[in-house]
Subunit: 223 residues, 6 copies
């Protein structure tokens, strides 16, 4: 069976309704694929990190570590819902993710290491499992040519190369939210030739369209 | 060095100001004791469990497990603040807690097993380490003879035996909040002769009074 | 495949003949179910604990821990006989049991944590795996209305509710041996709606009858 | 601090009185040395292995594994008595023994791997920790020139070389019990130049004599 | 499925061409067997051990440990090539090997413990998994009656008993290289009745012949 | 005690003489600091990776993983030489490094995760332990203003900011070897304000000079 590697932004974990739809999609997919899901941290992560700063934790290591544990808590929500088709705890190293991906129909994991985004984890998992495409349910569903909140003529792109996206990120042409994939993740995409399919996190069912060959978001091409 | 085993209710983990005072107290204590802190789950645990129910997780195992992970997240806040005087992750079994308690000046842990309260963990740790008293910072600072929210003549107790407290809990003389220590925890207190010192979670510094032999809360006597 | 969760009292582990019959039953079951077996400690546990007391180990933690390791030794007997259809070591946490139960046809485990009976482990495993019934091969094969060793008119019961059984245990209507399931285990049975089928440990083959819908012992109903 | 590596035959674990004396000796030693104790399996191991054969476990791997777990159970008796000056579980690999030996005042371990005696473990630990002498409390307190149960003129030896002992073992000059150290263990003694001090297991206090430079048993010299 | 347990000498890991052929053979075998491969250390091990001696590491424990890690590095080469049909890291204890052998189509492992050859690991794995024959790709493809480099009339043997081979090794009739299986490994072969099929490491495809019942090397018979 | 975090390039691990000097330096430092050493992979890593490519391992994950294991083998050389003042195996996650750094006088580790340099590990460890400076023994001992192999007037710099170094790396002003610290590592240096002291790997004793406040190499300033 083929591997299906996807990431769900932390934003999705505050709405039960939305989560239920993700669970349906993952269940359906697990009939035909070995599924690995990477979960983000989202709002709760940000709030815990704020408490941490309030008690004088200034170390980036610990602030990130706290965010990572919140992303694992989000992973646990999916694990509980998908049990017993998945390992009962989120794997905490890349090697454990590979082991789980071989042994269980579905694997759900959060962040791994301080200083690294869950977008990077998405690409790391894909590289380790030899997947040539990943699916990224993000707060923005498409990449735009210009800031759509400022320019009415901003066009959503169906494709963008990593090189172009890097330029856009570095020149800050798009607002912060659009820097959805960090440079390290893009580097891995390039070096291992992995396409990133961006999808709107509010529509989990877009995954079926994507699997049928359609492009209901933006494809980041590894060039 | 002697062991000092205490529990902090989850309620304490939403206020940075209060947490800072706990951190001060623990730092001071770690000069003279090997400290083990058990952290509760609190409000965030309840909210996560609600989301879990919303996605049809009805298994008590998984609902409890999610609560346990939130208590570990709270433990991580203290760990980050006390680093490097403590193990960088909360231990997840009783044996790991013992190991950590021998090796590090401070050990911070959350819940352990579904179906068991963090109050039980407090007593389990004390029993394993041979401590004859534990300190429990709880939402109520004292046990009352009657429900203080209903009866103006309700008296705070300086001492209560486990036998009396069990009767109070079973007959529901006090409201739910006062059932602060569950029956399993009380059973361990009895079988291993461990006194439980209840303290008001809003006043971490009461621990110093308690160590000087005063009783600024209620003592649950193991009889 | 459905999960089949059962406990075998420690008493069964001193007779090779009886054990051989259990092994036959488990092998047969593993064709149609994922089987999890919890093993008790029994006579050897009691003897080791006596030696422990003789060297002044008075801590309940350590006395229980020694009993738990004997139950793991009993688990190992079954593991050796069933190899390679089972994990080569008894899992030592609830999460490890779940992991093993997903991965291996048969999982054999002993006790888990000091202060908790193997009967409680039986219920914990059932709750974690979502099983609605457990099978308990115990020293007594049926629950009686009165002490059968004293009253010739004592009747074996085919069913008893948890509420009634709790009353019987608390009022000590039956001798110690009949307190076969402790209060914590009964609590889990209630909260997760799990029926406990009591069976005579001298007759492993009763399991086949029970699976055919018969009731060759006593059913403890989760009400 | 120097390492002190010793083995206690499984025979010692059936008498509380004797064990108490060992515990006293180990406690005293731990003031001046880092102590590592290897425990044998003894009578209970033999009985469990018999039950195992009775259920048709013929695999030497599993028979040995069961013996190893009994030796760990014996280790646990000492661990419980020496807590909290020792790791709360017997280490199960050579690397874990080293780690424990660095971190805890006392380390207690049983057997490690099927096909290998606990006498070999004794030598492996000494080699890993760089100890030049080990103490072996065995069923026989001295090595004899001839079988003392047959020849009244048999002389206890104060020293014997490995080469001579090998010859004695291979030619079966002494009865089985005297083959107390197997060939693999002797090989390690030779290759890493480790002296084996044999002592009578009924007299734990002989260790103090040995430490004062006396020879209250037989020394097996690594030549 | 039956277990197939084989060892590949460290010599094979310097030639990509040869390794590619091994990988082909293992892939083919994994269709019909659960395969366990033990890898030797070879030339790189020797070189690393030389550097170790150069920095005054004289402990046999550490010199062996370094050799073991090189054998694991060799295992990793096969693991990378066979991924994802194998555990992503070489198992490091006998129990981990058993676990992996049950769960993955192919398991690749190096050495385990200082003082023990990878030939012994080969026999340990076979004993643990109940295999009655092992395949050993060694630097010599056949055992000879006399030293073939000295005596032109030396005959390759199709079979030799363990007893004869032991005599040959002890009397040093054959040069060092022919002592391909050490005494401990031979002991396990005897006690668990395991035949060792020696094969020329330059011809991985001989395994197919051996599986068809032919004997393209020497069989060491467990008598 | 303060933490001292340093990296030794893989190049240093082929010469016993040089390694001996590093061991002397680390031993001396461990009297006054908790030392953490990160080891590179070097020449052997490159050769193993070449063999890996030869057997058609094209996955960057596996090529990097093999390089990481070689760096661990290099770590093992130091561990063997420094035993028993260090954990007997190189830690394999950032959390394990922290744990080891608290418990042992010296910790030696190799690479951690595919896609990440050992220079990044150096910075990750420093960030996790709160160190404000790291020492990097690299193939080049100083950073130059221009390529010193081409321009006779190239000047060694005593200081360079991260911003300038990034520009130099991106514009490829210096040859590949000078890109000694990758962008991710520099990012961590910036975000956690860590200075990187570059030192010539052929002169381990420079560390003493650096500790005395001198600057015998180049300082990369976190601006």
């Amino acid at each position: 069976m083929e591997y299906m590697v996807l990431k769900i932004t932390g934003k999705a974990f505050t709405s039960s309704d939305l989560l239920l739809r993700y669970i349906e999609v993952i269940r359906a997919l697990s009939k035909t694929h070995r599924v690995v899901v990477v979960t983000g941290g989202g709002e709760i992560a940000r709030r815990y990190i704020e408490v941490a700063r309030g008690i004088n934790i200034n170390s980036n290591y610990w602030l990130d570590e706290i965010g990572i544990w919140v992303s694992r808590l989000n992973a646990l929500l999916l694990i509980g819902a998908l049990s017993p088709f998945t390992s009962p705890t989120p794997p905490q190293t890349l090697e454990d993710i590979i082991r789980a991906a071989i042994l269980y129909p579905v694997t759900v994991t959060g962040g791994l290491i301080p200083g690294q985004s869950t977008a990077l984890v998405l690409l790391q998992v894909a590289e380790a499992l030899g997947a040539s495409r990943v699916y990224y349910f993000s707060a923005i569903g498409k990449v735009y040519s210009k800031d759509p909140t400022k320019y009415p003529d901003a066009q959503p792109l169906s494709e963008i190369t990593v090189t172009e996206l890097k330029r856009v990120i570095e020149q800050k042409i798009l607002p912060g939210d659009y820097a959805l994939v960090d440079l390290h993740a893009l580097e891995l995409a390039i070096r291992s030739n992995i396409e990133i399919q961006i999808l709107d996190y509010k529509k989990p069912e877009l995954l079926f369209e994507a699997l049928r060959g359609q492009n209901p978001g933006t494809r980041i091409l590894p060039r």
